[in-house]
């Protein structure tokens, strides 16, 4: 298979934005629902995290629903207090939905380039961020 180092011409893959469109719609729906629902009134206030109930510690997703609700109400301060990474996901998802809408309109934004070294650094940074986020939420829950 290509033993002499000959360069193969790759073909453009079909890039139907089906997944991007579905994810964008679902994300906007989740934001809208989180913004509309009365999270702190019964029966929704009955929803308890089983991990937290069992261990007294929050799970990695604890506070995300409130973060989404706060982002939907444009209360970014409350969103970051509820769950910093959850609020980043909510805001990032809205950005992704905007990018998908632009893509549907024929506007293609450049995809960020990342070499192997930067990708490895990004992986480590994300792992550290998830851990720091959990520590932050745990300290808030403990107070």
């Amino acid at each position: 298979m290509n033993p002499e180092g000959e360069v193969i011409e790759a073909l453009p893959a079909p890039s139907l934005p089906g997944n991007a469109l579905t994810i964008s719609v679902l994300h906007l729906l989740a934001l809208a629902i989180a913004g509309l629902l009365p999270l702190d009134a019964p029966p929704l206030s009955f929803l308890a995290c089983p991990f937290r109930a069992a261990t007294g510690l929050p799970c990695l997703g604890c506070g995300c629903l409130h973060a989404f609700a706060a982002v939907a109400h444009l209360d970014l301060g409350a969103a970051f207090v509820a769950n910093p990474l959850g609020s980043l996901v909510a805001i990032g998802g809205a950005g992704f939905a905007l990018r998908t809408a632009l893509r549907l309109c024929g506007v293609h934004l450049a995809t960020p380039r990342m070499g192997p070294a930067r990708a490895r650094f990004a992986r480590i940074a994300i792992a550290v961020a998830v851990l720091a986020n959990w520590c932050f939420v745990a300290s808030r829950v403990a107070r």
Binding site: V7, I8, E9, L11, A13, L26, A30, F51, G61
Partner: protein, 274 residues
């Protein structure tokens, strides 16, 4: 082998033919298989798997136009449950719509069966009889719990109508978190559609949802195991990487994925404490 991206015209080294993203510009492309008998490379041609096996034939569900809908669905579920390696080896990852359709159809149908069966089995009168035999604290509000478990018909119908959307959202959430962790450990080699395919066929055990008592628990565990097997096949992940990619979503999405059983349990505990 060296390949040239059709978008940015940069050349890059790759070990495998098939669909992948350009490491320079990130755009999706298709590297034609140069081996004898390999896929010629048009966009709708079968791709090769990570192990290099050419042209997977497609799962029965992906060939439902030739097999017929009921037979294709039943064969796919049977293979997923009892011959998962054979099923995942046949997956054509570019058939995203078919994968999403299988997962949402299977999950929705059996979740609705489960809800109807639960409503028929746990009538308010029967729940009152069950709770009357238990040692309940004086402050326990039985009627609140019964209303929560057995909502009014209009609410129940609304819940049934929302099931496909909930199933679609849960499916994508599961696939996104699984793929995100696969990327984090550097083992998601074939892109999001491959993870989506693994997660889709892993929904086959949801046929057990209507089984009273233990059906849901068995379905969730089986789903996790099948997702791991699927990831190993479609991405060529190692066992540890596949296990981590599958289990982490359950940790991250603990609140979301533990299901109505935990919600009910939490509600009952809250009612008891109040």
């Amino acid at each position: 082998m060296l390949a040239r991206c059709p978008s940015c015209r940069n050349t890059f080294s790759t070990d495998l033919p098939g669909r992948q993203n350009c490491p320079v510009c990130g755009k999706p492309l298709l590297v034609p298989d140069q081996r004898p008998g390999g896929a010629a490379g048009p966009p709708d041609a079968p791709t090769t798997d990570v192990a290099g096996h050419p042209s997977p034939p497609g799962t029965p569900w992906e060939r439902r136009s030739e097999l017929g809908f009921p037979k294709a669905w039943a064969s796919t579920v049977a293979q997923a449950l009892f011959e998962p390696s054979r099923l995942f080896a046949a997956v054509r990852i570019e058939r995203t719509a078919a994968h999403v359709g299988f997962a949402v159809l299977t999950g929705t149908a059996f979740s609705i069966c489960n809800q109807l069966l639960a409503r028929a089995l746990y009538s308010p009168a029967r729940m009152r009889r069950m709770l009357a035999t238990a040692a309940i604290p004086p402050a326990f509000d039985v009627e609140t719990v019964i209303r929560f478990v057995h909502p009014r018909p209009a609410i129940f119908l609304a819940l049934l109508a929302a099931t496909p959307l909930v199933m679609l959202a849960g499916f994508y959430l599961n696939a996104l978190v699984t793929h995100g962790f696969g990327l984090l450990i550097g083992q998601a080699r074939r892109g999001f559609p491959a993870t989506l395919a693994a997660c889709a066929y892993a929904y086959a055990p949801l046929v057990l949802l209507p089984v009273p008592a233990c059906g849901s628990a068995i379905a969730i565990v089986w789903l996790a195991v099948l997702t791991g097997i699927g990831l190993k096949h479609v991405h060529g992940m190692g066992t540890a990487g596949a296990a981590a990619s599958v289990l982490v979503p359950y940790l991250v999405l603990c609140c979301a994925s533990c299901g109505l059983g935990f919600v009910l349990f939490g509600a009952m505990m809250r009612a008891i404490l109040q």
